[in-house]
Symmetry: C2
Subunit: 413 residues, 2 copies
């Protein structure tokens, strides 16, 4: 069995459309400073680092990680970059977990940062052609992109399949958008805090049926950092360690199965059900001893790149049966005041999607909630467990799920 690993510090910058006066390494520095301050540590205490940076083209820089490492003054220590599309933050957290659980390093920094300044032409106020490439290259360039598949259109197909199979409606998805935009109002880092109605979401501009503008998250600039530590170190650092009780990850491509060397298409079944999400949750739950998520979790941060994706995640996370997501939101269960508040940070729809930073920000949200230090966003914590879900890739090919939990016996700060 792996060693126990705790999260002992969290820091995050504002998630904003632009941070025109900060470079990516300055954003990362701010997040790290916050995390180290939260843990009461300095860079001297950090044994190794994991960087989640997704997009090379945004900053025209392939090695942002080592430049951040340098800027932080972590020279002579290991630092590795992880990149797995939208789940970059989720996988970076998993790698940081593995680094501590392995016994090789005691205190590990996990930093996600994303900027797209160089992809934005400030003179004309528009993205440059480089951002178009950045998005194209994020699809499967061999088959999918030439067929018109990119982030929104591929997720839209998954949503469409869910509508067909289960009768899920656009209005039900719109409720996720309303909820997450509203949750963001309480989050000081959020880019898109808004009071909306289902009608307003429904009337927003069509992007890729059934996704309207307000069903989609926005590209965002920002950084987030976490400090992970061994049990021994964690207990010295904080009275409120938040334990990584379970961690699961699974990759899968819903499309282009015909290319697989195995009999995949037949096995995939139905793209309405996101198989990698089910597999990642199953692994995390097994490790954490979660058998009844709705009664064992206080909250869940879902990767809501699109409103429909959050619906599909409810099912894969086993919050409700397959096909039950529409009723789940109709019943108000994932609302702030519901039985299982989902995405109380505001998520990607409310905060924005600072790709490499997103999963780390959402993990930090669960950490702060379990510590009951989430400020105005705080939801009741009774069971002591929270879940973080992170996905990436066109057709939702990457998925990571982490279950975090606090000590039951411990008093909180």
């Amino acid at each position: 069995m792996p060693e126990r690993v705790a999260v002992v510090g969290f820091g995050v910058t504002r998630f904003a459309a632009r941070h025109p006066n900060a470079t990516y390494f300055e954003l990362a520095f701010d997040a790290v400073k916050g995390a180290l301050g939260d843990a009461g540590l300095t860079t001297k205490d950090v044994d190794a680092a994991v960087y989640g940076v997704y997009n090379d083209l945004f900053e025209r820089q392939f090695m942002q990680d080592v430049l951040i490492h340098d800027y932080l003054g972590l020279y002579g220590k290991p630092g590795v970059r992880v990149t797995t599309g939208g789940s970059t933050g989720g996988y970076a957290f998993r790698e940081a977990y593995l680094t501590v659980a392995s016994g090789l390093h005691d205190v590990v920094l996990c930093v996600g940062a994303e900027k797209c300044a160089d992809c934005f032409d400030y003179v004309v106020g528009k993205p440059t052609p480089e951002v178009v490439k950045a998005i194209a290259y994020s699809a499967d360039m061999t088959y999918e992109f030439p067929s018109g598949m990119y982030a929104a259109s591929s997720y839209a197909l998954l949503a469409r399949a869910h509508m067909d199979k289960y009768g899920t409606t656009e209005e039900q998805a719109a409720k996720v958008s309303v909820k997450n935009h509203k949750n963001a109002i309480l989050n000081p880092i959020a880019q898109s805090p808004m009071e909306l109605t289902v009608e307003e979401v429904m009337k927003s501009r069509m992007i890729a049926y059934p996704f309207k503008m307000l069903d989609c998250c926005l590209y965002t600039e920002g950084a987030a950092a976490l400090i992970l530590a061994t049990e021994k170190k964690a207990k010295r650092i904080t009275d409120t360690p938040i334990w990584v009780k379970g961690i699961g990850a699974a990759n899968d491509k819903a499309f282009t199965g015909f290319r697989s060397t195995t009999d995949k298409m037949g096995k995939y079944g139905d793209i309405a059900d996101l198989r990698s999400h089910y597999a990642a949750a199953e692994a995390a739950y097994k490790m954490a001893g979660i058998t009844d998520p709705i009664h064992q979790l206080d909250l869940a941060e879902i990767h809501d790149a699109f409103s429909f994706t959050e619906l599909q995640a409810y099912e894969a996370m086993r919050f409700c049966p397959p096909g039950g997501a529409g009723k789940f939101i109709d019943d108000g269960i994932p609302e702030r005041a519901g039985t299982l508040p989902c995405t109380v940070s505001g998520g990607l729809i409310g905060c924005g999607h600072a790709v490499g930073a997103t999963g780390i920000m959402q993990t930090g949200e669960v950490v702060m909630q379990l510590r009951e230090e989430a400020g105005k966003k705080q939801v009741p914590v009774k069971k002591g467990n929270g879940l973080v879900h992170s996905i990436g890739g066109p057709g939702s090919c990457y998925c990571t799920v982490a279950v975090l939990g606090r000590d039951k016996e411990k008093g909180r700060k």
Copy 2:
């Protein structure tokens, strides 16, 4: 202490200037097929995967890893991409090690692959402008590239500093090139097997003083794969497990220290001595219990992106004292028949540099040597230990070092 982790399988494709008839996922598949065959396993036995793919622009594809994962049929299992410049293979191996050592997964596949087909215009027979970008973006685009610093020129500065400080000569570096091109003659996968003289290296075209054409490695296409396993699994899989006895990693930027938030420049000292290499070796040696490398190692695979870099690595790996690398090669110690054969695969100079695959290929070389299954390349194995050194980034900012060892008591196949 981490759990014991063994390498139980290795596969590699030919390293070639072009593989015009294979995609990157086909190359990866071939290497994985070799590694699985070597271990007597199938993809069903693989619990998780780590992908080392460096360059997004080469294939205009940001998520090559998940497309390889799909092609291999590893759906529903974790797969993460690691990218750290030239050391991508070295860091991917470290992440695979951590994944097993953590206790989370028993059998982990580590795959490196690199293609640059889309960066090559077959009609005019020249690289496209995209390859120029790919190289530019590999430098620090903020400060270094605009100052004329890219891979060759930044390593050339380090070499120049070594010449100044220690009196190392271009002829001594040329001997590394002669040795590694010659070693490649015995390696069936090598791109550049050649009998050369020091004079021929000296007369080759100047690239960035003191580097001539034949001091530099070439961009290459190819793939390599390793299978890592827990002690329990390894003993069931093979009679010749090769243990990961030590693993160290350290990052550092020799240049742009002025940007660091700490007092770096003063601390760096002299760029003639590659501090990250010293730190990575120290960590690996400490873990492996290596106190006298030259008498405890049978061989070392050095990341010879440039001939001078191998010289500098001899010192950082403590094969000789600082400044002793010139004499070390003059004395013939790193030759095939010398006391400590270095880079018997032919290395990057002899085999080519298939970026993400390189460190994995070189790790595999040490594995096969320790198993005494290296064919014509085989060197004598008496002590049972070998070292792999992997670096990346302009100014040699990333470094990983692994010490591998075989069971002393076990018979070999």
